[in-house]
Symmetry: C2
Subunit: 346 residues, 2 copies
């Protein structure tokens, strides 16, 4: 059997699984942002006809998944496994979506890195011959996350300028092996390699400084990915972090320069979903965040650019802050993680 | 590439990953139970020298993992990836353990099914050539779980007879590929196949009826596993569910009989970790539960029986109740899940 790991942390897919379908749902505010036209569905009401925000988030994930399956040309019964996660305690959104999907389910938690974690694990299932079609995804909701991690939304407390806005959004993709794929889609978008991230904690304790807390993990994963693959940053048309936001993106840029990557390469080839989802006029302070942020930017905007071949090589690197609902109150700092998946179009 | 999925939900490992090491830590009450002598470490104090129960649980997982690495004969830097999870919001135990381990980390959540989920995903990483050595594990702690899901422990509220006792325990294993393994261990214990479970919800809403809530998923996974592999229950020396407890085990037995499996096969070949961890005198009502229950029974007791070849073929089937901290309060019923991993000794 060929060994597929290279260097310290990177896997190279020998079969290069296909992204056969993509789907997404965005909240009202996200729909009013610069990427509004790219979303499959924009909600009029972030309750989505449900009685609770949590069930609304779960319904968004389900709709995103159903759209991804539809685009893939498959039937739901052709999906071998579903891998997803969210920010809610015990993955409430994913667990309740999985209850309605009747597909073998593996729950994942990587905080806001979950979209790449699911893409990575899904690609492994396909690439190793364990499945022919896998459904992956992630979701978040501003109201479920604010209540759970910070303040009840009804409290209307003032957010500091470093705070990020958890995206009300869900994104999903269907990954397929070559044998089932060739007959269906007109696009040839594939996952090529992936780097599993380490948990890194720079000691930040402020729950309104998420970007800064996640940067060290993002830098570590990116530098390891480049070293493992022998690539330069400019190899990729774009390297996209998940939700570092404006402050995190600035720190990331500084640290990459410090690591010897030329400034113009960073300017031309690096971006962050948290700075792409909302416009400055939307007053989200330090940018977007949440599992749904990179999930919807990837499945709505970035993959559509790949379909049009406006970008051909991309490294998606969702970033997660692994605080819990009680760890900051216990005096713990915020550990970060980032997984990277290289996606290319033929 | 060979396709490794058979039937509806089952994967057959072509390389049969080796369980190269195992480790576990148990709380004081668990240490006083019938399996006390099998644990690597039994705590005198369930705070384990930490300031919070959560950090105590995290330390238990870390110690179990370090013991598993030590038994495997590997060094920590030889481990390619760590896969684990726990019951705590945002996987607090696993996330903080991973922070100290400096190993690429994939967080999993399957409630009390997490030990089998990590064993299954870890086996996939090895079997597909994505890693040579993988660390898997799961943990739970009575005090962290009671506070989070039910009542503050200090409240001292009365537990109904159907309530189960969340195990204060952690279990871990090192999975290795053949090429790195052959030189080291005297045991030849391997994962042979695995069945990914579906989420099934029978409508139970009582958070003190966990066993009953998980049974339908356990039955579904087991019957699918037997159908996919063409095996009978008696093929396995023992089929072990995770934490259905006394009530759940009874319901499971009835449902399996209803599905046509002869009663004596069930009596002779089926057991549940939740009924094995504590003695009746320990007054845990309906039995043990928690991720740590099957994690410690598997890594301490069942694997030691395999080392002695007292059992040669085992199907480990940890079971999870996918309620969240708030879903019962929102009127939702409790979805269940069960993953199965077949383990054999040569």
């Amino acid at each position: 059997m060929p060994y597929k790991k290279i260097g310290k942390q990177t896997i190279v897919f020998s079969e290069k699984p296909y992204i056969a379908g993509r789907g997404n749902v965005a909240g009202q505010k996200e729909g009013q942002g610069p990427l509004g036209e790219y979303f499959d569905m924009v909600l009029d009401d972030d309750m989505f006809g449900e009685k609770t925000w949590e069930m609304a988030e779960s319904k968004m994930l389900k709709e995103a998944m159903k759209k991804a399956i539809k685009r893939s040309g498959l039937k739901q019964e052709n999906i071998d496994a579903m891998l997803s996660g969210d920010l809610l305690n015990q993955l409430m959104s994913s667990s309740f979506t999985a209850r309605d999907m009747h597909i073998p389910f593996l729950g994942l938690y990587g905080a806001c890195s979950t979209m790449t974690e699911s893409l990575l694990m899904g690609s492994i299932l396909i690439d190793g011959g364990f499945a022919r079609n896998v459904l992956v995804g992630a979701s978040s909701h501003f109201c479920t996350a604010e209540r759970q991690f910070r303040m009840p939304v009804e409290h209307g407390n003032q957010r500091p300028p470093s705070a990020q806005w958890t995206a009300t959004a869900a994104g999903a993709a269907v990954l397929s092996s070559r044998d089932t794929f060739d007959v269906r889609s007109k696009y040839r978008i594939r996952t090529e390699s992936a780097t599993i991230g380490k948990v890194i904690d720079a000691g930040i304790k402020d729950v309104n400084q998420m970007g800064a807390a996640m940067v060290p993990a993002a830098v570590d994963t990116l530098l390891n990915h480049l070293e493992d693959t022998g690539r330069k940053l400019e190899y990729y048309d774009v390297v996209v972090t998940g939700d570092l936001g404006y402050i995190g993106k600035d720190i990331m840029t500084d640290l990459l320069k410090g690591a010897g990557i030329p400034g113009e390469q960073i300017t031309d080839h690096y971006d962050d979903c948290g700075t792409m989802l909302f416009s400055e006029e939307q007053d989200v302070h330090a940018g977007g965040s949440g599992c749904g942020c990179s999930a919807c930017v990837f499945t709505a905007y970035l993959l559509s650019l790949m379909e049009k071949k406006k970008i051909r090589k991309m490294l998606l690197m969702s970033t997660g802050a692994l605080l819990s609902t009680i760890s900051p109150g216990q005096g713990e700092s915020i550990p970060g993680i980032a997984h990277a998946v290289s996606v290319e179009v033929e």
